[in-house]
Amino acid sequence: MDFSLSQEQEMFREYVRKYLTDMEQTKVARDYIDNKIEQVKTVLSELHELGCTQLNIPEQYDGMGLGKLDLVPIMEEMGRALVPGLHLETSAFAVPIIEQFGTSEQKAMYLPQIASGEASFTIAWLEPGRSYKQQGIQVKATLKNETVVINGVKTQVPDVGLAQYLIVPVLINDEVTVVIVDKSTSGTTLRDQKGFDETRKLTEVTFDKVEVPVNEIIGPIGDGWSIIQEGLLSYNAALSSVAVGAMEHIVEMASEYAKIREQFGNPIGRFQAIKHRLADMKLDLETARSLSYYANWALETAAEDRIEAICSARIFATQAFIRLSAHNIQIHGGIGFTEEIDCHLFVKRARFYENYLGSIEQYYEQAIESLNWEIPKKLIEKEIILSTQ
């Protein structure tokens, strides 16, 4: 029995933590808000130097060949500093689906680019007025000779400016299919959108007869939905770690503030209203961490309960993140309501994740389905008939 990260994992965390602390933690997120893109790119490339982007890429593709669990401390540290960019989307969604479903050409093409820090992926999934459910995907693509021709609009695609490639779910013959599109492909129009969370830049992407070679399709045509589902398992396990990291930051900053801020002649942390709220927050944080560790372990070991474990971690961690970020403002009082300190950045990021790449409601449904508690309708009807005879 050993339910903890390994020494190596903790050591790697320390490197990243130290680097990001030297970079003043959330400063890079604020630079991104202020469109200081060069500063942001410097940090991202130094994180790459530390190994963050190579971690879970097989050695033959220039990666470090480590597992999904090894991503946990990195994701936590990314969340802790609200590091901008697409590390979550690239390492925890693009990499696993390319690795699992990609052709060897696709692997050879994309994985080394990711490992070298050259290319990031964003996900162009959401469509205006539509959900992240299967029926939400309506952008259509047709096959023409050896190309896929895409027409339609995707909305709120995050951080396109930092990405080279878009992962685009489309309908081919009414079946979901996943295509990789280089964002510079002709016919692709990008339009900036203002977002609620300014640490994520949003873009509306319009595909006007965009032609992509058929070998940019991941997996067989029509298999897209199940490929996405696999990718989402990795993504959600990683997302729960990101949320844990952010919550850890929140609990620390709120506790520190409660020790120094005085009201009525006492540090406010002496008042049980604050102290007990912080205790609840700490408990939420540690529970989210336990669930997320287990989710990532279940993912790595393909445990039987991995779907419910991952959904549970994703639901609990993102909801706890929303709660904690709100408590953090209340504990800080007036100053917490300003742009000056970081409280609001965490509130906005928490909301960004709430329903990002699948709503909370969907993950409830997925976990419940996987736990299989329901009794098949037929059995019930049969019994009612028997009992009323």
Binding site: G195, G333, F337, Y356
Partner: protein, 398 residues
């Protein structure tokens, strides 16, 4: 039990309603009017609006007629708030002047002070702000550290104020400063009617988490007030301040009425917003959460009416206002948080990119975080309820 309004009250409502219809900016009610974004223009717009109200004798209805008011009853004030919320009237730029400083001047000001300040408060010519809160005295007024030192017939004022709303439009400030060290912390305070347009006063904006600028820091460096600008007695500022706060006799009525309206709008949102062509309200889960909010917003309104009834009977507001404040601010937060969840990812666009109403819901959601902090945090309200309503022993440090 009787929820009806008297004929006179109904007439008052109709008169105000017609006046508003005739005098609100064109396109206001329809939502097509756009307020100026630029700060000076926005300030001017607000001053113009107040001038218009005051021309119609609708700026300070509770004031005596001789000062330009209507000597309104409490119920008329309630109706006034209801109607203002109903049309989402522009904010009163001189709220502090009209609701706090004016009544205090009428009660405790010298005839000279009254003559000098009151007309300009009413017309919006002079906008007032209030200088109570300090960085280390958020919810703790007795901890004021700003000092005023006597120097002939002048007072030299040094210190820092924070959360001063509308100070960037402010001409005068109702300022609390320490003039002597009393035995108890709330002794030795004095209230000044400070001129903001002087070198010793520096106003720095505080940008809120919603990107807006309502509040300021005010730095006082050898700022000057004259004896004629002291209101009440020297060292007796605590009493003046408390009585000033008491002049807000309708309590958080306006917020309660807003909450009621926002709930209706939320239902409208859930009926309008669609996901995969299906309006959100069609989900059983959404309807259930809506009913929870319906019950709470009704509860908030009805609690308010019950406390109002008591106030109508005993003649002054009761400490139950702390329950109203606590509840309306917490439910407001909950409502806007729900509005965010409800819309899903598409609700996270901002301003003119937002799918619905120029990010009305997003902006109000962010703003709502201030409501459980400003005007006494929820924690302070709970202390008040515990100590002053339930009679529990005082907290530490107080």
């Amino acid at each position: 039990m009787d929820f009806s309004y008297t004929a006179q009250e109904e007439q008052f409502r109709m008169e105000l309603r017609s006046w508003l219809e005739a005098n609100l900016p064109e396109g206001w009610v329809e939502g097509t009017f756009e307020m100026p974004e630029e700060q000076a223009a926005y300030g001017q717009f607000l001053r113009d609006w107040q001038k218009q109200l005051s021309d119609g004798r609708w700026a300070a209805i509770a004031w005596p007629e001789k000062y330009g008011g209507r000597n309104a009853t409490l119920m008329e004030e309630i109706i006034y708030h209801q109607e203002m919320v109903r049309v989402k009237a522009p904010p009163l730029v001189n709220y502090v002047g009209l609701h706090m400083v004016g009544p205090t001047l009428i009660q405790s000001g010298t005839p000279e002070q009254q003559e000098k300040y009151i007309p300009k408060i009413l017309s919006g010519e002079e906008v007032w702000c209030q200088g109570y809160s300090e960085p280390n005295a958020g919810s703790d007024l007795a901890a004021v550290q700003t000092t005023a030192v006597k120097d002939g017939e002048k007072w030299i004022i040094n210190g820092q104020k924070i959360w001063t709303s509308f100070a960037h439009f402010g001409d005068r400030c109702f300022l609390v400063a320490r003039t002597s060290k009393g035995e108890k912390k709330h002794h030795g305070l004095t209230c000044f009617l400070l001129d903001m347009n002087q070198p010793g006063v520096e106003v720095r904006p505080i940008i809120q988490m919603d990107g807006e600028h309502d509040f300021n820091e005010v730095y006082l460096t050898d700022a000057v007030a004259y004896d004629s600008e002291v209101i009440g007695h020297v060292d007796d500022g605590w009493r003046v301040t408390i009585s000033l706060l008491m002049h807000e006799r309708t309590g958080i009525g306006a917020q309660v009425f807003s909450l009621e309206q926002q709930f209706s709008e939320l239902v409208g949102l859930a009926q309008t917003v669609k996901e995969d062509d299906i309006p959100l309200i069609q989900k059983a889960e959404v309807r259930k959460r809506m009913l929870d909010l319906y019950i709470k917003s009704r509860g908030s309104l009805l609690n308010y009416y019950r406390n109002l009834t008591k106030q109508l009977k005993v003649g002054h507001p009761g400490v139950e206002g702390s329950m109203d404040k606590l509840f309306v601010s917490e439910v407001t937060k909950e409502l806007f948080s729900e509005a965010i969840s409800l819309q899903g990812q598409q609700g996270l666009l901002w301003k003119d990119d937002a799918v619905y109403g120029n990010s009305y819901w997003q902006r109000n959601y962010l703003y709502s975080f201030g409501q459980t902090i400003g005007g006494g945090t929820s924690e302070i309200q709970k202390n008040t309820i515990g100590e002053r309503i339930l009679g529990l022993p005082k907290d530490v440090g107080r």
